[in-house]
């Protein structure tokens, strides 16, 4: 006669909960974040670190690196007894010109958006025509404008000729060339801001407009106190993309003047490319030092954006 146990053991039948199961809540978010974090680390964080590291070396991109400490920064920024690097100085001021003047795209985009925000026959067609410059490549924009500016055959001088104004060679004049390129860049950038504002205008609350109208608001008062506050998210995005666009002005410069005449249209990113990656550029260390300086300039803007986004979110809570 066999004796069965008084209490059947359930333990063996019920499997032990796995380590993952026990920590599921804590781990799962990290698992979802992991791919993004790996890519961000490999493609963003590590290259930044490498740039810092390379900027302390003399390196032609092919052979061995030699440690030179902060020599590149001394040359670039004119620390110690060295004079400030003149190409760097020009590039830096050009970068500032780009940042300030490129912002004109925002009011221009707003103006066109207000103008196009109406219902007439074929408005979709007009809108798409205004949006057109943003669709075509920056390289094409650059080419078109460099033909437009041509000193003899260009359309600009033909038009100026009608009014009796003398021919100007905008891209050949070191004091005008940068402004000429910025004007070319504003063409697609205005279209971009216009689209942002057009979508923003769709979200404007008609009841508020109605109420404002009953209170007697019209014209620029209506725009300034009623419409614009509602467009604030669109303005913020337009501001961000325009600043980023201004810092990415590389392709237009490369196509239109190649940094010339005599280097007067260089910006920091173009200078970096020229020093380290172009036909005669074998100075990776110096190029990396320029990149690091550019990084800190951009960091200033990024910090400002992050801060204002944080502030807005806090206010919304």
């Amino acid at each position: 006669m066999s004796v069965s146990p008084a209490v059947p053991s359930t333990r063996a039948n019920q499997p032990q909960r796995g380590w993952y199961k026990r920590n599921e809540i804590a781990i799962t978010p990290w698992l979802f974040l992991l791919p993004a974090m790996i890519f961000f680390a490999v493609y963003v964080i590590m290259p930044i670190g490498q740039s810092f590291w390379i900027s302390f070396h003399e390196w032609d991109g092919l052979g061995e690196k030699t440690w030179v400490g902060t020599a590149h920064y001394e040359r670039l920024l004119g620390w110690g007894d060295a004079n400030i690097d003149r190409k760097f100085e020009t590039s830096f001021w050009n970068n500032l010109r780009w940042l300030v003047l490129y912002l004109l795209a925002i009011p221009a985009g707003l103006f066109i958006a207000l103008f196009l925000n109406q219902t007439v026959t074929g408005i979709r067609f007009y809108k798409s025509m205004f949006f057109f410059p943003f669709v075509i490549s920056q390289v094409v924009v650059g080419l078109v404008f460099s033909w437009f500016y041509l000193p003899r055959e260009g359309l600009l001088n033909a038009v100026l000729g009608i009014f009796g104004a003398g021919p100007v060679n905008i891209l050949g004049d070191p004091s005008l060339a940068t402004y000429g390129i910025i004007a070319a860049g504003l063409w697609p950038q205005t279209a971009y801001c216009m689209i942002l504002y057009l979508t923003g205008l769709n979200a404007v609350d008609p009841e508020q407009v109605e109420a404002a109208r009953l209170d007697g608001a019209k014209g620029h008062k209506m725009l300034w106190y009623v419409i614009l506050p509602q467009l604030k998210p669109a303005t913020f995005i337009a501001f961000v993309v325009t600043i980023i666009g201004a810092l990415r002005s590389f392709d237009l410069i490369s196509v239109m003047t190649n940094g010339g005449p005599f280097g007067s249209t260089r910006v920091l990113s173009f200078y970096m490319f020229e020093e380290s990656l172009s036909e005669f550029g074998f100075r990776m260390g110096f190029g990396a030092a320029i990149a690091v300086v550019l990084f800190f300039i951009m960091l200033g803007f990024i910090a400002y954006f992050l801060y204002s986004m944080y502030r807005d979110e806090k206010a919304a809570q």
């Binding site: 991109g61 092919l62 003149r86 050949g172 190649n258 010339g260 036909e279 005669f280 550029g281």
Partner: protein
């Protein structure tokens, strides 16, 4: 044109010209031969494809893979191409342009190839391929520089080819008085101004001085350099060059000459094809050697050489070397540099030159009237950084000659940083 070239090259193959050298090796080549070429313009591309196909046909067990990269893009891509998994043969340029790759050990030393008797025929270009006492590649073509001019315009105003600086200036004055610019030039991409500097400097101070300046032994603020710029300035102050040249590429400057608004162009022989395409006939076009400035110095000429190299990491070294022998052999040289091919000068002394008046004149000039020496060109003779800063300064000088002091100071600062 392509098929003509191919058939004629194939005929060469049939004649067994190069096959004999293979037989002499006693073993046949096998495996793969990977070539990356920058001969991307239509005519050079056809030449390169023809050469690769014929070399492939010569060696049945060898598989020739040809990749053609855009010529401008190759100038920056070569670094990556030589780094990991390099091909067996690449295109590049002679003289100091090889320096970074030689220093980094990325080009193979092929001095053994140059020691072979067949390479004696290439002796004239050996200097340009030599760095640190060894040879790092072989040339496949070169071309003369000089002044290409509109003979019909010269005839119209009763001018003749100038032989010295006074005649040059006098000619120019006549042209300017008649509303024709003396020279067209497009300096947007800077290097064209380098040609002018090479010529005026070597004519003023001689080849040896030019070489010392290129190798950083002479200060840019030296009075002899200033003399060069003073001579150049005479032309600039006359208004000899077209206006707004800083906005044009060298091709965009061509219409001035084709339309008769400018009478001449200091250029390499490759410009002839473009001028003919523009509608100028050989009766309208002619060529003269850059005139004497200082009678005490001998003629030095720009004659840039384009080259083939073997990366040090090449997988199939034997086949690569055989390909270089093939490319430089007299018959292949005759064929690829002919008017239907590259239309340039062959590097092999035993090759024959195509029946073209510019090639004939250029070859004669380089063989008999370049006693000073052969320069490769500003951007190949000078260190890379010096060349880029230098050419920018030259462009600025051509537009604002008054900035000369500032420009020279900048160049001197760069020289001291690079060479000290």
């Amino acid at each position: 044109m392509h098929s003509i070239l191919k058939t004629s090259l194939a005929a060469l193959v049939a004649a067994g010209v190069t096959a004999s050298s293979v037989a002499a090796d006693g073993h046949s080549l096998s495996g793969e031969l990977n070539i990356i070429s920058d001969m991307s313009n239509p005519a050079p591309r056809a030449v390169m494809e023809g050469m690769a196909a014929d070399f492939d046909a010569l060696h049945p067990e060898l598989e020739v893979n040809l990749t053609i990269v855009d010529r401008e893009a190759w100038k920056t891509q070569i670094r990556n191409a030589l780094g990991a998994n390099p091909p067996d043969v690449v295109n590049w340029y002679a003289a100091n342009r090889m320096r970074p790759y030689v220093d980094a050990g990325l080009f193979a030393d092929i001095s053994d190839l140059w020691a072979e008797p067949a390479f004696d025929a290439l002796a004239s270009t050996k200097g340009a391929m030599t760095l640190d006492g060894a040879q790092w590649g072989v040339p496949y073509t070169y071309y003369q520089w000089g002044v290409y001019y509109r003979k019909d315009i010269f005839d119209q105003y009763g001018l003749s080819e100038p032989t010295n600086w006074e005649e040059e200036m006098a000619n120019c004055q006549v042209l300017l008085d008649n509303g024709v610019k003396c020279y067209t030039i497009g300096t947007k991409f800077l290097w064209t101004a380098g040609g002018w500097f090479d010529y005026i400097n070597s004519r003023t101070n001689g080849y040896d001085f030019h070489v010392s300046l290129a190798s950083g032994e002479v200060e840019w603020t030296d009075p002899r350099v200033r003399e060069t710029f003073a001579n150049w300035r005479q032309l600039i102050d006359m208004g000899a060059f077209i206006d707004d040249h800083q906005t044009y590429s060298w091709q965009e400057a061509l219409p001035f000459m084709v339309n008769g608004e400018a009478a001449s162009y200091l250029m390499g022989n490759f410009a002839v094809a473009a001028m003919r395409d523009g509608g100028l006939t050989d009766e309208q076009l002619d060529f003269y050697q850059f005139p004497v400035i200082n009678p005490d110095v001998d003629f030095a000429e720009d004659a840039p050489t384009d080259t083939f190299h073997i990366p040090s990491g090449a997988q199939n070294m034997d086949a690569a070397k055989e390909f270089l022998r093939f490319v430089t052999s007299a018959d292949v040289q005759t064929e690829i540099n002919s008017g239907s091919g590259l239309g340039q000068l062959p590097v092999n002394a035993n090759a024959s030159i195509d029946d073209d008046k510019f090639l004939a004149e250029g070859f004669d000039m380089l063989s008999n009237n370049a006693g000073g020496g052969i320069m490769q060109f500003f951007d190949r003779d000078f260190d890379a950084e010096m060349a880029s800063v230098g050419m920018e300064g030259l462009q600025e000088f051509m537009v604002f000659p008054d900035n000369l002091d500032d420009i020279l100071m900048r160049l001197e600062e760069t020289r001291q940083r690079i060479y000290n």
